[in-house]
Amino acid sequence: MSVAIELRNITKRFGNIIANNNVSLSVNNGEILSLLGENGSGKTTLMNMISGIYHPDEGQIFIGGKQVSIRSPHEAFEHKIGMIHQHFKLVDLFTAAENVVLGLKEEGRYNIFDVVEKVHAISDKYGFDIDPTKKIYEMSVSEKQTVEIIKVLYRGADILILDEPTAVLTPQETRKLFAVLRRMRDDGKAIIIITHKLHEVLSLSDRVSVLRKGEYVGTVETAKTNEAELTEMMVGKKVELNIERTDPVDPQDRLLVKNISCINREGVKVLDDISFTARSGEILGIAGIAGSGQRELLESIAGLQHLSEGEILYNNPKTGSTDDLRDKTPLQIRELGVRLSFVPEDRLGMGLVGNMDIVDNMMLRSYRRGKSFFLERQGPKDLADDIVQKLEVATPNTATPVRKLSGGNVQKVLVGREIAASPTVLMAAYPVRGLDINSSYLIYNLLNDQKKNGVAVIFVGEDLDVLIELCDRIMVIGGGKITGIVDGRCASKEEIGLLMTKSSGGSEND
């Protein structure tokens, strides 16, 4: 077997952050290599360097034994490299065939029927099931993915990179995809598949390379490894963080989520029969691979997602009544007297308005108060001053637009505001993402304070060490389903890691 592509000592930095440190790996022709790693381990960055989107700071890339420099996606094509990204780059209004030839400078007259023929030929060769004359907007996610793969093959790619291709697929679709990938392998193509689902790795690939936090951990042959070894390579040894955790005092059922399901615009079931209870005075952690339904879950509770099934019951501690929050708007939820605070993942796109100053952002939650036609600015101004001072927000003054603040300070403003509403339920999605150590601990302390005040805290996190040390219970979701709920005090990283990758959604063997 000849080596198709080899990376030697690749390093890539973004500012002070090292995304890839001294990574070396290789793929042979006629081989499927899995690139395994948690979120943020640098898998996609590494592959983007092969497909010409980034350029490595250090190290070399060899294709067919020759050193090359890949400076653009176009040059990657010339080296017969094709990458299928997670976000499809397709024109919705065009047919599959039109998307396949888009931007190509082929010889001869353009005739869409020839293209349709060629697409048929490729489909037959590898067993794709696609109608080249179908418009993209009429297609399922899986069909769109197929178009992307055919696009790459049509351009003659011999090295294919797929970035988490099964994340959006049903089990049946995944099975089909794998069959196609195997056929391509047998045809001599080199395939790299980025993933974090262990069973897929084991069933599909010939070898596995593992990355962890930008570092290259090692490569093993699939036949000679098992889930436990791969999990350990992926998550690493436990790191002591010493985050404070008190025992819950008088926990009461605050929020009862019962059998909720949600179907997104593409028709994919993003939440599938989810049931859990959030209790007062307790931090409930939610762990899972990115895009497993975390965002939809929180947005459903906040009144921003339409549910197809189930109910969300809120026990009001003041009145003792129980209300169903399903299909209520955020305003209706507030009018019911539900004190729900929500720190969304998209801080500047949803939680805050980037062009407004800190005071005006404080008002987002409170501006309706009072009967007056006019805004009351003194309260929000005091709150802004208070937050800036207590949370040590680095800003010239409270009249600074929040988009000018650094990520950590933006988050302090947002969390500060949400906590100031004295909630009974506090939901936070990735509240420490992109924050430095000090800011992160500040956020942990704020969440712990809320817990001591009897708030039901729901914390969506990605760092397992943090989840294990901060949360009382950890709910793991995969593919829109709950794969397990564990006790934070006795759970192990491996246990959670296994649950995360055990999504019933993507398994081939179901």
């Binding site: 305003l331 796109g349 005006d360």
Partner: protein
């Protein structure tokens, strides 16, 4: 360095500025206006031999040279400002209402209709009140129709409001034909429904109304809950939903206000200046107002100056053309040139152009 070739940076690389110091933005704007003036006066010079240095003096003379001209300039400014105020709340919400021309026109039509049918059956003050009411309602309806479809089916509001303008114009032509079926098809100047002159100044009343409206609009946008909601919807519809704003309701409410103000502008044109109507009564102010509002960053106070600048250019260059007995359309050319510079300079406020570091530095890299 490795022996990989360094990616060659393009000569000019454009990046978004995170922010710009306010005075730098003002300097860029001032330079742009100045450059526009310069090119404009060169054009005037080329066409009229009026020396560029004299152009500015002539412009000034044409707009503020006599008391009559000054009042006329102020009246024109007030009208343009009034329409600019009207379109502002919608724009701030990112609703591209380019139908102000039509909304003002139906406002004017409503006012004229009241005059034509009521005449002196009731006292003038009562007639004026009825006129205002009808104008406001007419403008509102004209703005709410596209807003309704925008809220319901997300119908493209730019194209919709554009078409509404011409329907309004034909409606005016139609009404004129109804009132003056034979002969000139020009509606003669009406005797009734005139705004009272204050201190003997014909235009003062409408100017004062617009001053009051500017202040009110400033207050509305800056200090009320409505204004705040408009800003949030305009900045981020996602955030608006997150905090529970009913976006459709805000769209309809804001367009009702926008249309009502256009109606008032139409009323002021009829009752304060024209006392008749043609389909060109608004004279493109509905379109110019869009530019005024946009270049003033939706700030009603800056809009007063922008309106004055444009009227100054238009009226001033018309006078120059008049002196040389040329077509007064030269004013549109000069205004256009200055506007292009103002529109273009926005780029240098929002983006930074990075020139590639000298070739030497690139070589050192290698």
């Amino acid at each position: 360095m490795t022996d990989n070739k360094k990616i060659r940076e393009p000569l000019l690389r454009i990046t978004k500025r995170p922010s710009i110091v306010w005075w730098k933005a003002w300097i860029i704007l001032a330079v742009a206006i100045l450059a526009g003036f310069l090119l404009g006066s060169l054009v005037i010079y080329a066409l009229t031999d009026c020396a560029p240095v004299k152009v500015f003096k002539s412009l000034f003379d044409g707009t503020f040279g006599t008391e009559r001209r000054t009042w006329f300039t102020l009246q024109q400014t007030a009208m343009l400002l009034c329409v600019s105020l009207a379109v502002t709340p919608a724009f701030k919400m990112r609703f591209w209402n380019i139908g102000a021309e039509g909304q003002v026109l139906v406002g004017a039509l409503a006012a004229v209709t009241c005059i034509v049918y009521i005449e002196d059956m009731i006292p003038n003050w009562l007639l004026l009140i009825i006129m205002v009411g009808s104008s406001v309602i007419a403008g509102m309806i004209w703005a709410l129709i596209p807003a309704f479809f925008k809220a319901k089916w997300n119908t493209n509001e730019t194209l919709f409001t554009l078409m509404m303008n011409y329907i309004a114009m034909q409606l005016v032509s139609f009404m004129i034909m109804v009132w003056v079926p034979n002969g000139s098809s020009v509606l003669p100047t009406q005797e009734f429904g005139w705004l009272p002159a204050i201190l003997d100044k014909k235009y003062l009343f409408s100017i004062l109304v617009v001053v009051v409206l500017s202040v009110l609009m400033y207050i509305y946008l800056k200090t009320t809950k409505h204004g705040y909601e408009i800003a949030v919807v305009g900045e981020s519809e996602n955030t608006a939903k997150y905090i529970g704003i009913n976006v459709k309701k805000v769209i309809l409410r804001t367009l009702a206000i926008s249309g009502a103000l256009c109606g008032i502008a139409g009323f002021l044109i009829v009752a304060g200046a024209e006392h008749t109507i043609t389909k060109d009564t608004v004279g493109g102010n509905g379109f110019t107002a869009i530019i005024v509002s946009w270049m003033s960053k939706f700030n009603p106070l800056i809009m007063a100056f922008s309106s004055l600048l444009i009227v100054f250019l238009q009226e001033g260059s018309s006078r120059i053309a008049e002196t040389y007995s040329l077509s007064d359309s030269i004013s549109d050319i000069v205004t256009g040139i200055v506007l292009f510079f103002i529109i273009g300079c926005e780029f240098f406020i929002n983006y930074k152009v990075n020139v590639r570091h000298s070739v030497k530095a690139a070589k050192e890299d290698k």
